[in-house]
Amino acid sequence: MATEVVVPMLGITVEKGTIVEWLKSEGDLVEKGEIIFIVETEKVTTEVESPASGILAKIIVPVGVEVPVLTLAAVITEPGEELPAEYATRAIEGPPGKAKVKTQGEQAPVSTTPPQTPATPTGSIEAVPAARKLAQEKGIDLKTVSGTGPGGIIVIHDVEAALKPRVEPAVKVSTLARKLAEKEGIPLEGIEGTGIRGRIMQDDLRRAAEEKAAHGLGKVVQMNSMRKVIARRMAESAVNAPHIYFFTDVWMEPILDFRQDILPDFEKKFGLRPSVNDFLIKAVALNILDFPILNATLKGEEIHILPEVNICLAVALPEGLMVPAIANADKVGLAGIIQQRKDLVQRARSGKLSMDELERGTFTISSLTQYDITYFTAILNPPQSGILTVGKTRDELAMVDGEVEVKKVSTFGLSVDHRIIDGAVAADFLQNLKWKLERPSFTFLTV
């Protein structure tokens, strides 16, 4: 059965997206979970995975056209299945004048015989005259040549390269090793073959896979798609948003005692156990209502203060980090926060989060209370403007009414985008949050 691939929902504030690259061409085999295209919005660039395994039978949204989210982008059919007729005529025009040969929906067929008529210059293929002449002499279709000159223009070298017989570096590999590599998706490049004359054997693949899995120095590790997204977004955030950092010590006994106090009754009533984090999420959401600028995002020259308070909670996974967002944390009750949190964490671990749950966040909390970390700074989760960090709760000596007392203290940190949030505002936000957490019975009066 044919599977539709749509431009995904990219967050509550995103209505449109532009496919910037198709990583697969029509007719290619695709695996479920394999990245098939990259979509860009004003917020982020996202790699989109194939929802099914099969043949990428038809690309409907070409590169460079902005389309509403959920627009049908492509159709995947099962091997041997005909493209259903209703899709056959579906097409979205590419942007005028911008067409690049490589990124057109349908690829130019590679001609095995020289064209009858010399390749004529067309507006869409840019080539230097010498390259055009050589191509004409040798009967090379410029459509099959990818340009490496400025702006992708085809230079003479590109035509020469196209003339050379394509000699794939012959990777010598045993039949069984090749089958194993295909099955396990292990790239053969870079694997040292221990067979006769460097032939790659099954054991070499197994060893390579083991080395990949083992921790150690001096090796190349391929980034998985999650790591690539994290890398891109962190770099984007660090470069684009000037960060400033604030720290304060929060006296934790009030919130810890408050939690202990209400725990029996709360459990009895809701059947749920609130964690300190749940109180924290709620307190932050309430605090944002006092400082809406912390719920804002910068778009061009406008500051958009977002209509919903969705608090992201970092979930560590073996492959990396996921930050699903608890929706409307300011409005839902504590029980609602707990239910959302448990559900999101569980689904994050099993890889079943929706794009919306991952992208809807407006503010992030990153907690390292389980670690022996006093305090730390965080990089903003773009396009958000604030992120709160929480260190371990520790014992600290404090002067109370002239007496030395032991207090349980945690250092909270706040990173903000200094482009839109001033230092004083950030300081106020953090101080206000401290006040809220140290006076829980008042803060959570109505929750």
């Binding site: 045993s174 039949t175 069984l176 090793a177 089958k179 194993l180 099955k183 221990t194 067979g195 032939r199 054997m201 099954q202």
Partner: protein, 465 residues
């Protein structure tokens, strides 16, 4: 000081010596008998000579076209003399190869006195000591004889004596239905001897594919060899020019058999003379020397290969290990995988096999498919008047991995080599089918069996499934 000292100049030891010398090592080999070990002097090569002679006679006798009067027969004296000549040629050739490589061969009984130190009781009577950085123990094996049997060399023999005997008994009992028992049964039967095999287990050559075993059993019975399975020999006594064997069959009934001679073919045991494991603190595994996957014993710089380490007791396994151990000594790495070592049996028909049986594959829970081809459908086999044979290939139905191949029939032991090659190259069954074979040859039988694995055999009738 030598780089490498090897005790034992058999297929394990001499291969290691040559390989070591080729890589510039200063090598010394200690050999108490003749170079070439059991295989060349008292085993495979000898029996191959006899089998060849026997089969030549059989082929002539059963030929539809060779005519004439008179009786064709084998002269046992000449047969043994020819074998001696073959062995002499090969041993001499080996000696020249060793010499050409600059390997020092010392004639005498080697003794490992400590890691890196060897004492040799020279054939002349003197004693010499040698030091070497690395020592390989390649002392081989000798016939294992149950404690209640006393080998007298005439009435009660092992292969050591039998292969040099020029007289043929009228009635021979062979204790053991393994590879050695089968080969000897074939030789003696062709020489006109009445042969009875007494096998303790439920079948002959128990490690082979069931279908192949059955075919071999039928062939033996057709030729008049009596095979008694599940038979435990209790007593062997020689008296008045006869041998009396008392045995118990699976019903528990005690029976007596009288013959002219008994051949004890109950396996082989390691030769450990000169290797005092207890004194040296050398670890053993049962009667064998224990090694790790780099052929190292627990003693520093002391390695062991071949029959003395147990496992498959085959000359080519010893040689493969001999090559591999030198690779390790030189700082490299080379594996000898048991599943890639071909096994051979020469009897009324040849058996060549490599890898695991269908039964073993099923026991491992592997998804398998089996391809078969009958010699009957081979043009070459028909032309050779030798149409009894079967090629069976077991492959993983998902990956195409060749798990095992089992061939019975003419030249099966030659044919199995190419399957071993394919397995070593990690080829799939389809690769075996892909390579074009010359016609008409027996090599096509392997190709056809591989094609049949994919249900695409050309020279077999369509299967009814």
């Amino acid at each position: 000081m030598y780089d490498l000292a090897i005790i034992g100049g058999g297929p394990g030891g001499y291969v290691a010596a040559i390989r070591g010398a080729q890589h510039g090592l200063k090598v010394i080999v200690v050999e108490k008998g003749s170079l070439g070990g059991t295989c060349l002097n008292r085993g495979c090569v000898s029996t191959k000579c006899f089998i060849h002679d026997g089969k030549t006679l059989e082929a002539a006798k059963t030929s539809q076209v060779i005519m004439g009067t008179g009786t064709l027969l084998i002269d046992p004296g000449k047969m043994v003399a020819r074998k001696r000549q073959v062995v002499k040629t090969l041993v001499g050739g080996l000696g020249r190869i060793m010499e050409s490589q600059g390997i020092e061969v010392v004639q005498g009984k080697g003794e490992l006195i400590a890691p890196g130190r060897i004492r040799v009781g020279m054939t002349g009577g003197s004693i010499k000591e040698y030091e070497a950085r690395h020592v390989i123990l390649a002392t081989g094996s000798k016939p294992a004889v149950p404690s209640f049997i006393e080998v007298d060399g005439h009435y009660i023999q092992t292969t050591d004596e039998a292969l040099d005997s020029e007289d043929v008994p009228g009635k021979l009992a062979i204790i053991g239905g393994g590879v050695i028992g089968l080969e000897m049964a074939c030789i003696y039967r062709i020489l006109g001897c009445e042969v009875i095999i007494l096998e303790l287990l439920s079948d002959i050559i128990i490690n082979e594919e069931a279908e192949i075993r059955r075919a071999m059993r039928i062939l033996m019975e057709q030729r008049g060899v009596k095979v008694n399975l599940n038979t435990e020999v209790r007593e062997v006594v020689a008296h008045d020019g006869k041998v009396e064997i008392t045995y118990e069959n699976d019903t528990g009934r005690s029976q007596t058999l009288e013959g002219d001679r008994v051949l004890v073919a109950t396996g082989r045991t390691p030769v450990l003379e000169g290797i005092d494991a207890g004194r040296l603190g050398l670890n053993t595994k049962g009667p064998f020397i224990k090694i790790n996957d780099r052929f190292e014993t627990n003693l520093p710089g002391v390695y062991a290969v071949g029959d003395v380490v147990g496992g498959m007791m085959l000359a080519h396994k010893a040689s493969a290990q001999g090559e591999a151990v030198v690779a390790h000594i030189l700082g490299g790495r080379k594996e000898v995988k048991p599943e890639l070592i071909p096994r051979c049996t020469w009897g009324f028909s040849e058996i060549g096999s490599v890898g695991i049986t269908e039964e073993e594959a099923n026991a491992k829970g592997l998804p398998i498919k089996v391809g078969k081809f009958q010699y009957m459908n081979s043009a070459a086999a028909q032309a050779m008047e030798d149409v009894t044979g079967l090629v069976k290939i077991i492959g993983n139905s998902e990956t195409g991995e060749i798990l095992g191949a089992h061939i019975i029939g003419a030249h099966a032991t030659d044919l199995i080599g190419e399957v071993g090659m394919a397995m070593t190259m990690e080829s799939a069954v389809e690769d075996l089918a892909e390579a074009v074979r010359p016609h008409p040859t027996l090599s096509e039988t392997v190709m056809e069996a591989a094609m049949d694995w994919s249900d695409l055999a050309i020279d077999s009738p369509k299967k009814s499934r």
